[in-house]
């Protein structure tokens, strides 16, 4: 799946999102992996003992207070967006930034053109776009608006403080 990091296409991403089947059978691939928060919590010791880095994936249904207490234990946190209309991802990303997270925040799931700019403004640096929703046009998404009223994670100053 095309991956944008800091608005640019990258093709040397080391992270693998572990699929449900592998989780089920506890047969994790080698290398850097992203696992659901619940799986991480259940297998924390084993995961930390393996080679390769471990990142978590959270969803809007997860209780993330524990993550917010020490987010930098993870190099990357993926936020899963189940559907276009689910806007919890935006607030979760902002909470992570506020908690001092300085790793990568990656959007996975229903990620497409018309939300890329808002995702970026809320603190996402990596956007994992499904192949069928990707075209060169998505790069335009970041320049559609040259002005904004509110502060966000890209610039905390609202227009009246700029």
């Amino acid at each position: 799946m095309p991956l944008l990091i800091n608005r640019e296409l990258v093709d040397n991403d080391s992270w693998q999102l572990v699929d449900a089947e592998a989780l089920e059978s506890n047969t994790l691939p080698a290398g850097d992996i992203i696992v659901p928060l619940a799986y991480y919590q259940e297998h924390e010791a084993a995961l930390n003992g393996r080679d390769g880095q471990v990142a978590i994936q959270v969803t809007g249904d997860d209780e993330i207070d524990g993550v917010l207490e020490n987010p930098n234990q993870f190099p990357l946190i993926a936020i899963f967006i189940p559907a276009l209309r689910d806007g919890r991802c935006f607030s979760i990303a902002r909470l992570l930034k506020r908690a001092g997270f300085n790793g990568q925040i990656r959007a996975v799931g229903d990620v497409s053109h018309d939300r890329l700019d808002f995702l970026t403004r809320c603190g996402f640096d990596a956007l994992d776009i499904p192949a069928d929703r990707f075209s060169d046009e998505v790069f335009n998404a970041f320049s559609e608006f040259s002005v904004r009223y509110q502060g966000a994670e890209d610039d905390s100053r609202p227009v009246y403080r700029q």
């Binding site: 559609e144 040259s146 904004r148 009223y149 009246y160």
Partner: protein
């Protein structure tokens, strides 16, 4: 009123371009239909029974004459020559073509108008008192805060995909003409014991399927904290509001589920984190925006007019209109005029392109070039000299805009209903005509006094039927339209939800049923008691007995 600066204009222009691109990608098949649906709704575009419907924002009901002329032009060029004002003080066009919408938006942008967030699960147009700035009983003009909220909420990157729509209203003083208690957030401008002006904050009000009166979450909020507090409330809602069932997704459901005290704790904890951030409003910004809402150069000698009294004495029809359709202005010698969009047998809130142009001209000539729309679907010329009222009335009368029925039974608030709306369960326009026809006698209406009648064509309650003194809700029973009647609602400072009097009545019995209800009122009324006060005093039983009495 507020005038765009370069940033405001650029944002609106860029939204037009982005919507044009979204429409292009949709028509080219690159944007899936369900995704375009969410995106077009966030720009006010529905697809209705006959055609798309475009809802244009009228921020807190303020329009310039130039903007009104553009609305007339849009109605002529892209629609069928008319528009419809809504309870969110916006205007809807019922017949545009989907592919024309980007051009319409471009035309609107030229006069600082847009359709941003007039629908969709996002923060909608903030509404307020139609007499803001000109009424004596307000503590402070709420419009600068509406504009500050408009800017903060426009294309807010975090809050574009909330669980459900989100509506904010601000009342400028103790008399609530903004229905603030039935909004997701209601803000009341109040003065604290130290004499400082700020906001009382209510949360979790709303109508629709589950009508709820808002609850106080904070008795006093300083002005500088307005945006940080709103952001805290909406962040909690965005994270915790239900997303599994759209009928349970409004903030009122969350507030009720958690209890307002728990909800308050969550909000206050979140607010603690952000209240000292850049979100804090600066005095300079408040002053800058207030600078757009300063009083006009009123004429000092307007108060010396004697012609009005003479006209009132000699022309009874004019005197009725003056009494019903004008309101005292805080500046002596001026009145605020309500332009009735509730003409006899005309769909309520509808206005033709000729009427729009005329109102624009009248605003220029008599009212400093500004027009307001009300949440009861009328227009207001807020600053008219008393000496001009007679002339203005004559012109409005000739244009069918001076029906002297404001705050009477026929000043009905009515959604377009099943004739247009794809969501409606029942039609409303024919029933409104039936009520108009039955209660045409103005003297009778004046005798009845203040009555608010609100009729919605479905449970979504766009016309706020729960808070009408008389509410009518259209329901579908096996393919037929039936109407459920509620009594005792109010959207004012004494907000209450109406109660259903009994089983729904057939379409052709609505006006006759109202006649029975009103006959009970007339019988039981003490002196000049208002209808709503009478209902509250005697309860529903006498009304039920009359309406559902077995036929003889």
């Amino acid at each position: 009123m507020y005038q765009y600066n370069q940033v405001d204009q650029q944002l609106v222009n860029e939204r037009v371009a982005s919507f044009r691109d979204q429409t292009r990608r949709f028509l080219a098949g690159d944007l899936p239909e369900d995704e375009f649906l969410a995106l077009r709704l966030m720009n006010g575009l529905y697809v209705q029974r006959h055609a798309p419907m475009l809802r244009v924002a009228v921020p807190y009901g303020m329009m310039s004459s130039q903007q009104m002329r553009t609305l007339a032009h849009v109605a002529r060029k892209w629609d069928r020559g008319y528009g419809h004002f809504t309870t969110r003080t916006n205007i809807q066009f019922n017949w545009p073509k989907l592919e024309d919408v980007p051009d319409i938006l471009e035309e609107l942008a030229k006069v600082q108008m847009h359709a941003i967030q007039t629908s969709g699960n996002c923060i909608r147009n903030t509404t307020t008192d139609q007499f803001a700035g000109v009424i004596a009983d307000e503590i402070e003009d709420p419009r600068p805060y509406c504009e500050i909220i408009r800017q903060w909420s426009s294309l807010h990157p975090e809050f574009a995909y909330l669980p459900r729509k989100f509506k904010i209203a601000i009342s400028g003083g103790p008399t609530d003409r903004a229905a603030s208690q039935v909004h997701d957030i209601g803000l009341h401008i109040v003065k604290n014991d130290e004499g400082e002006v700020g906001f009382e904050v209510l949360v979790g009000g709303g109508l629709g399927r589950t009508p709820v009166i808002g609850k106080q979450i904070r008795p006093f909020l300083q002005k500088k904290d307005l945006l940080s507090y709103l952001e805290a409330i909406i962040r909690v809602y965005n994270l915790k509001g239900r997303r599994d069932n759209k009928y349970k997704a409004r903030i009122k459901i969350l507030v009720n589920a958690l209890g307002v005290d728990t909800f308050r704790e969550l909000v206050e904890a979140e607010w603690e984190q952000i209240k000292d951030s850049d979100l804090q409003l600066t005095n300079a910004e408040i002053k800058r925006v207030q600078g757009f809402f300063t009083p006009f150069d009123y004429e000092a000698d307007a108060a010396n007019d004697t012609s009005l009294d003479a006209k009132l004495a000699e022309d009874e029809t004019f005197a009725h209109w003056f009494r019903q359709n004008t309101v005292e202005h805080k500046v002596p010698g001026y009145r605020a005029v309500i332009v009735s969009l509730k003409a006899h047998l005309v769909p309520k809130g509808d206005i033709t392109h000729q009427q729009m142009d005329l109102v624009a001209d009248l605003a220029d000539k008599y009212s400093f070039g500004e027009i307001r729309s009300t949440h009861n679907q009328n227009l207001v010329l807020a600053d008219v000299r008393k000496q001009d009222l007679y002339e203005l009335w004559q012109i409005l009368s000739d244009a069918n805009l001076a029906r002297a029925n404001i705050n009477t039974l026929t000043d009905m608030t009515v959604c377009p209903g099943g004739d247009f709306c794809a969501l409606a369960n029942a039609k409303t326009l024919g029933v409104a005509d039936q009520i108009d026809a039955k209660f045409e006698d103005l003297d009778y209406l004046y005798d009845l006094g203040e009555i608010k009648l609100n009729m919605s064509g479905c449970i979504n309650a766009c016309s706020h039927h729960h808070v009408g003194h008389i509410g009518i809700l259209g329901v579908d029973k096996k393919g037929e339209d039936w109407y459920q009647i509620t009594l005792g609602g109010s959207d004012g400072e004494d907000a209450s939800l109406g109660k259903v009097i009994g089983k729904a009545v057939a379409a052709d019995e609505v006006a006759d049923t109202l006649e029975k209800v009103l006959s009970v009122f007339v019988e039981q009324r003490i002196e000049d008691e208002r209808f709503i006060d009478c209902v509250r005093r005697i309860g529903l039983t006498p009304f039920k007995e009359k309406v559902y009495a077995p036929a003889h």
